[in-house]
């Protein structure tokens, strides 16, 4: 019976609409994220085109603000987060030897909410008046009293995304805690599973806080409350405290799964076990715990008391310790390995180096007195793009190349993969590195036009942006080509690959895997 059952796939649109299969849902998450990458990326191209030279050439200042706002929201909530949920869906059951996610119907629902959430958000562009134009951090009162009418749609969209994320993370936690194969103790789980377990707890802790803050906005805007309205006795700074209590763990939600992916890939291509497995787990957990006590480092200029500024400075600096441990462990994993540099490894090594550069600028900004100079300049723009683009996005690229053969049964085109890597690597640095200089020289962020002395570096950044944006079409081509055919992948795919998905499942992984739990020694 199990033989017929094994690869029976539903057909037609119903396969996707009503899917309860972790692999199909994972695929949908990944495609959704990919489409959003091009929409959010298109907005970035508009931003960089306007900033190519001083003066206003292409768009109005208000539309520019709509672009920066939607670019940020789409990239954070529509690209990085769904991509990681896609990886979790595909990989967590295969890595822990489970047949599927624990709550498959909820899995379907948490995906299908997303197109509606982002449909709502993007529809604001076509409404009369302005789309949300107050930055992805939507500080009150710019987003409340002064927000455009479409802000209420934005609030509804954020609520939907939050519901989706909470359901997705409950699913991950229940799956990991209940469905591990016999013998797979917590400290034997692959690091990717560990990082996602911790990420899921972060999501459950902070998504309700985001829901709370947008609900307060909603009642301030429509029902006469004054949570954030000073003239009604409210407090605009409280908005920032509540937002960043969500927002700082959120940035680790976007990076911890990348740490997991990199920790899977480096040992494979070093042909050597991950160095310091348990310290990796403890470091990830420490970063997650610290993320709850550092939020106000985003707000050094709001006029906190000295004691507050000192506390948040010291707590933030502490994060460098576990993050350093991770970087040292990856380096030690490579040390005296037997290294090869296929595309996933190239992206992973680039991740370690470029993410660390983002970490250094983060450390510089943790120092309150000098952050007064960096705050709200292009220096912070450079910083978070180093950690989110050459960090999270590069890890997503690395993971996609690494597991595509397992997912599709076909090898991707290695030559094209390397072309994608090298052009991305050069252009992303031409794009973001000059932003450090712009910020230090005094260019504020979120401005549609700038003084003449900022021209040269802005032109460089724009050219880098056009190349980096354009080359992602090659990635789309590589993925489609790999799905449609190519050299057959072996079951193990990579010589040094370890883990249940490579050791116990064929390539492509069957529609239903591990109907009988494997034994883990």
């Amino acid at each position: 019976m199990s033989e017929d059952h094994h690869d029976h796939k539903p057909t037609g649109i119903g396969r996707w609409l009503f899917s309860t299969n972790h692999k199909d849902i994972g695929t949908m998450y990944l495609w959704f994220s990919f489409i959003m990458l091009f929409i959010g990326g298109g907005m970035a191209m508009i931003i960089r085109a306007e900033l190519y030279q001083p003066g206003m050439q292409l768009v109005e200042p208000d539309f520019f603000n709509q672009m920066t706002t939607l670019h940020g929201l789409i990239m954070v909530f529509g690209v990085i987060m769904p991509a990681f949920v896609g990886f979790a869906n595909w990989l967590v059951p295969m890595m822990i030897g489970a047949p599927d996610m624990a709550l498959p119907r909820m899995n379907n629902m948490s995906f299908w909410i997303l197109p509606f959430a982002f449909g709502t958000l993007i529809s604001t562009l076509f409404m009369e008046g302005s789309a949300p134009n107050f930055g992805w951090t939507f500080y009150a009162p710019l987003s409340t009293t002064y927000g455009p009418a479409s802000t209420d749609y934005f609030i509804f969209g954020v609520h939907l995304m939050g519901i989706s994320s909470i359901m997705g993370s409950i699913n991950v936690i229940v799956t990991i805690l209940n469905m591990r194969a016999p013998g797979m103790t917590l400290m034997k789980m692959p690091i990717f599973v560990w990082t996602w377990l911790i990420t899921a707890f972060l999501l459950i802790a902070v998504m309700p806080v985001l829901a709370g803050v947008v609900t307060m906005m909603l009642t301030d805007r429509n029902f006469g409350t004054s949570f954030f309205e000073a003239s009604g006795g409210g407090d605009p700074v409280m908005f920032q405290h509540v937002f960043w209590f969500f927002g700082h763990p959120e940035v680790y939600i976007m990076i911890l799964p990348s740490f997991g992916i990199i920790s899977q890939i480096i040992p494979t291509f070093a042909r050597k076990k991950l160095f310091g497995y348990s310290s990796m787990v403890y470091a990830t957990a420490s970063i997650a715990i610290l993320s709850f006590i550092v939020w106000a480092h985003h707000m050094y200029t709001v006029g906190m008391p000295l004691a507050g500024e000192l506390f948040f400075m010291l707590a933030t600096m502490l994060i460098a310790v576990p993050t350093g441990v991770k970087v040292f462990n990856w380096t030690a994993t490579m040390w005296k390995g037997s290294l090869t540099f296929e595309t996933p490894m190239l992206f992973s090594v680039a991740f370690i180096i470029l993410f660390t550069i983002g970490g250094f600028s983060g450390l510089m900004m943790s120092i309150t007195p000098i952050d007064f100079q960096y705050h709200d300049t292009y220096f912070i723009v450079a910083h978070f793009h180093y950690v989110l683009v050459t960090g999270a996005l590069f890890a997503i690229f690395a993971g996609a190349y690494y597991w595509l053969p397992k997912w599709t049964g076909n090898m991707y085109d290695e030559t094209l993969g390397k072309v994608h890597f090298w052009i991305s690597l050069v252009s992303v640095n031409v794009l973001f590195f000059p932003m450090h200089f712009l910020g230090l020289a005094g260019m504020p962020r979120r401005i549609p036009d700038y003084a003449l002395q900022f021209t040269d570096f802005n032109q460089m950044a724009s050219i880098g942006a056009f190349v980096f944006g354009g080359i992602q079409l090659l990635f789309l081509f590589i993925v489609i080509k790999c799905i449609r055919g190519g050299e057959k992948a072996t079951d193990r795919v990579w010589e040094g690959a370890e883990g249940l998905e490579f050791e116990q499942l064929p390539s492509p992984a069957p529609f239903h895997s591990f109907t009988d739990a494997p034994q883990v020694k």
Binding site: G55, Y146, F275, G337, L339
Partner: protein
């Protein structure tokens, strides 16, 4: 093609020499105050610590990538744990961090020290999209807008127009400070959050509605210092620069006297009767500084967002309704602020006259300061 060449030139200059690249600033400014110098030194110290650690770690990675390649016959070693190094690379970074935290805390404590001994106090109020500087002990205040010379060329197709005018960094009325005196700034806002920043003083503080934030500086050098609003505050966030002119004590005193005189003259102009031409000329200036950002220099507005002036029901209809919305603001749209609190009777009379008779509006009304005064009740 020339664009590519230029980019290549810029790129190569970066690697060849930073001196050749002096035209574009790449590092933080050391500034002119004692605090800004200290901030700069702290920045440099921490940057170099990062560079050295980075060089070490990346050096190991690159060496490993070069020496431990499979293609060179490298065979993987078997180690995957080492308590000693793991403890070391936890403890050493911790100690380095303590080394950074001590000087950082010292500088921070200086920056946040109270400014009760300040000799000049200026209340800075952020507005969409201009600053108000209130010299609290001298009894005058004024608005500081983007200079008209800058505003005129924002949409210009000819890049040459933007040269030589401190594009986007020039204002109509500068803040003026006395050299060498301790100055206290009190920051607040009338609408959304703004942030007042002069890099050369290392002063950046948010201007938040309902809050009064404090900062202080002592500028030891006469000169003109420029900065910009640093917190997204809406459409024209990029167009509200900050210019501070630091003058010698005598020049500062003369400037204060002149400003006090101007305040008295403004009060006098509220009680005189103006001709239509005088009102229109003054009104155009006021309109361009305060109204054109939303309603457009030609009165066209932004469809769906900011209403047009041209042919509008208010600007061509009942004068009482026009006075009401300008003086008291809009009840439905907070973007239309209550200008009664920001402008003198004469300014309001002039700008309302201008709106009713420009852009093809043709009411023929000449609104006098006395009319505004009556409408304020």
């Amino acid at each position: 093609m020339s664009v590519l060449l230029r980019t290549f030139k810029v790129l190569s200059l970066m690697f060849v020499s930073t001196e050749l690249f002096a035209a574009a600033q790449m590092d933080l400014t050391p500034g002119v105050t004692a605090i800004s110098q200290e901030v700069y030194e702290l920045h440099t110290l921490i940057l170099w610590i990062c560079v050295i650690i980075g060089a070490g770690v990346f050096g190991v990675i690159f060496y490993s990538m070069f020496a431990h390649r499979k293609s060179k016959g490298a065979v993987a070693a078997n180690f995957h744990d080492n308590m000693t190094v793991e403890v070391l690379w936890t403890v050493i970074p911790f100690l380095i961090l303590i080394g950074m935290a001590i000087p950082a805390a010292k500088t921070l404590i200086k920056m946040e020290s109270p400014a009760d001994d300040a000799e000049v106090t200026i209340k800075i109020t952020g507005y969409q999209w201009k600053w108000n500087y209130d010299y609290m002990h001298e009894g005058f205040s004024f608005f500081s807008n983007l200079a008209q010379s800058n505003r005129d060329v924002i949409n210009s197709k000819n890049p040459k127009d933007r040269e030589g005018i401190n594009y986007l960094l020039d204002v109509d009325n500068r803040m003026v400070l006395p050299v060498g005196k301790k100055v206290r700034f009190l920051m607040t806002s009338n609408d959304v959050i703004h942030s007042w920043w002069i890099p050369a003083f290392a002063v950046k503080k948010d201007a938040i509605p309902g809050y009064i934030n404090e900062a202080h500086t002592t500028v030891p050098k006469v000169g003109v210092y420029r900065g910009q609003c640093a917190e997204l505050c809406g459409k024209d966030h990029g167009f509200m620069p900050i210019v501070v002119e630091v003058k010698s004590e005598a020049d500062y005193a003369a400037w204060v006297a002149e400003k006090k005189g101007a305040a008295m003259a403004a009060a006098a102009s509220d009680s005189k009767v103006w001709s239509q031409d005088e009102l229109m000329a003054k009104g155009e200036a006021v309109y361009n500084a305060s109204c054109a950002a939303c309603h457009g220099p030609t009165g066209d507005g932004v469809p769906g967002v900011f209403p047009a002036m041209k042919g509008s029901a208010i600007a061509t209809g009942n004068l009482a309704a026009h006075l009401d919305i300008v003086i008291n603001g809009s009840k439905v749209n907070p973007a239309m602020a209550a200008y009664g609190a920001q402008m003198s009777d004469a300014d309001l009379a002039a700008v309302i006259t201008y709106e009713r008779n420009a852009f093809g509006n043709n009411t023929g009304d000449a609104v006098q300061p006395a009319d505004v005064k009556a409408a304020r009740k």
